[in-house]
């Protein structure tokens, strides 16, 4: 109770309240504009938050992170275009509802489900915080190293069908973070005697390039889309009543969201996929899924909104971000000398609780805002894509240049912008690079610290948590290779089934020749032997 009161005290400031309001409304707006997304917005705003108090800066960023998915449901339901990537599953059932004249019902249901998911995960984590506070101190250097390694492995294997390139990009991230002056032996690493590389490649510069500038290039080189909006009729509160009719789907989906959010590298997509599959398999009307099923919409929206709060757990408790957005937030902590990790849970529990409470207030604010302002808000969907590109390019400048007023930073960001553009064109993942950079840095420091006390390789995993993490890594790698072998087998079977004789002209002629020769030989044999 005392901790809760201290948490409320931290939040009871006018600047935190303004940050909550700006973050929530701004996040909804950003989410509602297809082509922007929370990653771009957070990357741009990151340097601006460095001058704020940690709680104020983090509240703005958390606000954008937590509320963008509410906003992302609007274009997903109304124009079949997800506002943020994680709203893709919302289009499956949201848009069919719009086409049959129920856009208001779909929106209301999506808001209610998102609200439930958000509040559920905050409550879970507030209740779970004392347990975390007990577990977190069990993580020493080697456990954090293994957890970071697990995070990278999970990110790589989560990209099914692309795990090799995801792994190569994560390795690229690890390499980039190693560029510059090595802090222990003071030796240069891949600086090529260039002064601007001595301080290393800044994470925010890379983030801005890969997320913001690349997105600006995508929009500027693309075309504007013609959008027709449907008029909204009906009440906005019907979603709450409808959600109450499916408590099992909502609770299970939110639980999946919380669980998946806590695992580094897994995130919204897996949570949504599992929840959606569960809802479909246990539904009385599974055929409705994909054709405007309310249960499908609830599963997708509840799961994705339960993730942001849960994703803060590995970040706050271990200092290990599980995905790109929390990786960006980590830099806000570092700038203010607040080191997330076991110490934070032990010494600054009130700060952690304040962040969770901020997330709870944020969900309430966003829900109320959306119930009242959806009619006006949907107009942001009409902003032309190419103009958005101009806006993002203009805003990206602030993000990069305000860091160190360095032209070379801007050049590096532009190079990464082009690289990100190419990756997006090839549908390759960008997130492994960011996580490789962040987790690579953590792994370097923690491995060095832990190896000082390790005599034999077994010493590294002789503690229970380290052993569990090590076995988990082995299990995940084993599962991954087993899955690869299974897929290889399937490919071979499929190729064998579709194998046919050559249809090339030479092949046909050769077969014809053989046939004629066989017929002639038969005729000769008949003539001579009989």
């Amino acid at each position: 109770m005392e901790v809760l009161a201290s948490g409320i005290e931290i939040l009871a400031r006018w600047d935190v309240l303004v940050a909550l309001l700006v973050g929530s409304v701004g996040g909804v707006l950003i989410g509602a504009i297809p082509g922007v997304g929370p990653a771009v917005a957070i990357a741009i705003l990151l340097p601006a938050t460095f001058s704020m108090d940690p709680i104020v800066g983090l509240t703005v960023l958390l606000g954008i992170y937590g509320s963008s998915m509410y906003g992302g449901a609007i274009p997903a339901i109304l124009i079949n275009t997800p506002g943020t990537a994680v709203n893709a599953l919302t289009t499956y059932d949201g848009y069919p509802m719009t086409t049959r004249g129920e856009p208001r019902r779909a929106l209301s249901l999506a808001y209610s489900a998102s609200f439930f998911g958000g509040i559920f995960s905050v409550i879970c984590l507030i209740l779970f915080a004392p347990v975390l506070a007990k577990i977190a101190p069990l993580f020493g250097s080697r456990e954090i190293f293994l957890a970071a390694l697990l995070g990278i492995i999970l990110v790589v294997v989560a990209h099914r069908g692309q795990s090799m390139i995801a792994g190569a990009l994560a390795a690229f991230g690890i390499f980039i973070q190693s560029i510059g002056l090595e802090p222990v032996k003071y030796s240069q690493r891949y600086t090529f005697d260039q002064p601007f590389l001595q301080s290393g490649v800044n994470l925010i510069v890379v983030v801005l390039g890969l997320f913001a500038l690349s997105q600006a290039f995508v929009l500027l080189t693309g075309d504007d889309q013609k959008i027709r909006l449907t008029k909204l009729r009906g009440g906005m509160f019907q979603g709450i009543r409808e959600l109450a009719r499916h408590p099992r789907v909502a609770a299970v989906s939110a639980s999946f969201g919380v669980l998946m959010g806590m695992v580094p590298g897994v995130g919204e997509f897996t949570a949504q996929f599992i929840s959606y599959t569960y809802a479909q398999k246990t539904s009385k009307r599974p055929d409705d899924f994909g054709n405007g099923s309310s249960e499908g919409l609830i599963a997708a929206e509840t799961a994705n909104n339960a993730v942001p709060t849960a994703a803060m757990v590995p970040l706050l408790a271990l200092g290990i971000p599980g995905e790109a957005l929390t990786a960006m937030m980590l830099s806000v902590f570092y700038v203010h000398n607040v080191v997330p990790g076991p110490g934070l849970f032990q010494n600054q529990m009130d700060f952690v609780v304040a962040l969770y409470l901020a997330l709870m207030i944020l969900n309430v604010l966003v829900f109320l805002f959306l119930l009242g302002a959806t009619n006006q808000l949907i107009k942001v969907v009409l902003i032309p894509n190419r103009f958005l590109g101009v806006c993002i390019l203009t805003l990206s400048f602030v993000g990069v240049y305000s860091l160190r007023n360095s032209v070379s930073d801007c050049m590096i960001a532009a190079v990464f912008g082009m690289f990100g553009f190419i990756l997006k064109r090839l549908s390759m993942p960008v997130v492994p690079i960011i996580l490789g950079m962040v987790l690579g840095g953590i792994m370097e420091v923690k491995l060095r610290a832990s190896m000082a006390r390790v005599k034999t390789p077994y010493d590294f995993i002789d503690r229970p948590v380290a052993m569990i993490l090590f076995l988990t890594i082995l299990f995940i790698l084993g599962m991954h290779f087993w899955r690869i072998l299974q897929e290889r087998k399937k490919i071979k079977e499929a190729e064998w089934l579709t194998k046919h004789r050559s249809t090339a002209f030479g092949g046909v002629l050769s077969r014809r020749k053989n046939l004629l020769l066989r017929a002639k030989a038969k005729m000769v044999r008949t003539r001579h032997f009989w």
């Binding site: 190693s178 190419r386 240049y401 082009m418 690579g440």
Partner: protein, 176 residues
């Protein structure tokens, strides 16, 4: 007819071969420079060597990037690949716009540079109506107002401001 491997491939075919080859070769080139660009310190554990992490990253790039290239279902270069390269190169124009903006800001100042940049780029990409040009100028002004005036982000005043009258100069340097 597409083979099973081609059907199961995640992502488009166009440009894959170029990307994979360049990514692998750059990784290989950087790895070949490891003895020159990093140091091996005597009497230090392997994991604490300054060379260890760049090597781990580069070996990962070469190994996994090489495997990705080897496993690509296609070996030949098509017209689509060449068109894709042209699209990649076309972004250079916007890179130049961005870097031009970066160079101009310290000279003429953040506000004037943004008020010129946003409408000019809008005009370039095809928004020629007065309404859109005004909107982009207003957007530029709002950006400066939000970040420099209100949030006080660190963007230095332009050289041009030096020629302003004393009162106006200090206001412009601090807020615009």
């Amino acid at each position: 007819m597409a083979s099973e491997k081609e059907r199961r491939f995640v992502g488009p075919r166009r440009g894959q071969i170029y990307f994979s080859v360049v990514f692998f070769l750059v990784g290989l080139l950087l790895l070949s420079q490891i003895t020159r660009q990093t140091r091996w310190v005597e009497n230090t554990q392997l994991f604490a060597q300054p060379r260890f992490w760049p090597a781990a990253g580069l070996i990962g790039i070469v190994l996994l990037g090489g495997l990705y290239l080897y496993k690509l279902p296609w070996r030949n270069i098509t017209v689509q690949d060449r068109i894709e390269i042209r699209i990649w190169v076309s972004t250079l124009e916007y890179v130049c716009w961005f870097l031009g903006y970066v160079v101009v800001v310290p000279v003429i100042g953040y506000l004037p540079a943004t008020l010129i940049f946003a409408p000019l780029l809008s005009w370039r990409i095809g928004y020629r109506s007065k309404k859109m040009l005004w909107i982009s100028a207003m957007f530029g002004f709002a950006t400066v107002l939000l970040f420099k005036t209100m949030l006080s982000v660190q963007i230095p005043g332009g050289l041009l401001y030096e020629y302003f009258p004393t009162m106006l100069r200090s206001i412009f340097i601090q807020y615009f």
